[in-house]
């Protein structure tokens, strides 16, 4: 809209995002800005408050009695210790693994990746790194490096994981306790390369941590919740 002054653009965009009228592409871009620009994120929150006035017009409807037991089951201590409690812990604090991560990247860089991939990888720089360590015992198991420019994700196990009875799956932990996003199964015994695209690449650029769950062979968990135990985690650090 050329007839709207530029200083109003961000304000209107925040309103459009809160209202959810943007196309999927526009919305993705606006969400990325929301995640990286605190002033813009605050604008979106302000719009949510303003638009909340509409809520009064929506009649309440009692949900069926089935819903609460299902909610309760999904936050039960058993489920919680393994998943939500873990993510909650990550949302609340971090453990400062930068030094370990830097060492791990040195290891990673020294370790030759499969040649064809490296040769065809677009130009870019490794900008986020993590050392993933076992939650029990703290032994490092995987070094990870992610290039936010190209979406290249390099994963190097620092020692072979026991994959005889379960398959390691890699997860992104989103900021602000917004849950997790599955990247996929990883090779627990050899260095590998993944190309992240679109929404996944954007999520990886904003994630605060990574984690590994062990899933039953042949089982693919939902994209936002591991089914198997979370065995290892690492904080994602900007280089």
């Amino acid at each position: 809209m050329t007839d709207i002054p530029p200083e109003d653009d961000a304000n209107a965009l925040a309103g459009e995002l809160a209202l959810r009228v943007l196309s999927p592409e526009e919305e993705r871009a606006a969400r990325a800005r929301q995640a990286s620009d605190p002033a813009f994120a605050a604008e979106v929150e302000t719009w949510n408050e303003h638009l909340a006035g509409f809520i009064a017009e929506i009649p309440s409807v009692q949900p069926s009695a089935r819903v609460w037991p299902r909610v309760e089951a999904s936050i039960s201590p058993a489920a919680n210790d393994n998943r939500a409690g873990f993510w909650r812990m990550w949302a609340l604090g971090s453990t400062g693994l930068l030094a370990a991560s830097l060492v791990a990247v040195a290891v990673l860089v020294a370790r030759p990746a499969p040649a064809p991939i490296v040769q065809t990888a677009p130009a870019g720089g490794v900008t986020r790194v993590a050392t993933i360590s076992m939650t029990e015992g703290g032994a490092p198991v995987v070094a990870l490096a992610y290039d936010t420019v190209t979406g290249n994700l390099f994963i190097a196990p620092t020692k072979a994981m026991d994959t005889t009875s379960a398959v390691p799956h890699l997860w992104l932990v989103k900021p602000d306790g917004a849950g997790v996003q599955l990247i996929g199964a990883i090779d627990g015994s050899a260095a590998s390369h993944h190309q992240l695209r679109d929404a996944l690449a954007s999520t990886a650029g904003q994630a605060v941590a990574v984690a590994i769950s062990m899933e039953a062979p042949g089982h693919e968990p939902a994209a936002d919740k591991p089914d198997g135990p979370v065995v290892a985690t690492g904080e994602l650090q900007a280089l």
């Binding site: 709207i4 959810r20 009228v21 943007l22 909340a52 809520i55 609460w68 936050i75 949302a91």
Partner: protein, 185 residues
Amino acid sequence: MTPMLTRDELAVALGQAGDGNRAAFKTVYDATSAKLMGVCLRILSDRQLAEDVLQDTYLTVWRKASTFDPSRASPITWLVTIARNRSIDRLRSGAPMRRTSPVEDAHDLADAAPLASDVIETTDEASRLNACLDTLEDKVRGVIRTAFMDGVTYDALATRENVPLGTMKSWIRRGLLRLRSCLES
């Protein structure tokens, strides 16, 4: 049933839920689930689907409760925003059968009796918003309202109103900016 909580009581319960207090979380659920169900059902027009999204919404609430900041958001707005965004995500995920019949049909299926939780502190926001909406042209007020209530995109709104996409964007953007200056004056 549905106990009535003040905004402050709800904020406190949500904060306690953020500390892992399940009883407080149940209090939040009891006080707000009918309102959030109304929001989900309004957007999804399918009771089963709305309950699935409602369940998912409260799981998100449980996980994110520790990030709720009562100095920045009212608790009911924070909760409704999650429910509405989840519902819209579900609506746009491709799968659901968007019914073309009026949403009132869906409400007929449900117990639509007014609930005490309707009283939760939305009246101030509502009267301010309505006063400012009244300063907009009828058509602009109408499409902004539809966008919020039905969770539809510019594209869908332009089709519904039978105007070019650019026209719809212009209406809403100008309307939002005018609303904003009215609401903050």
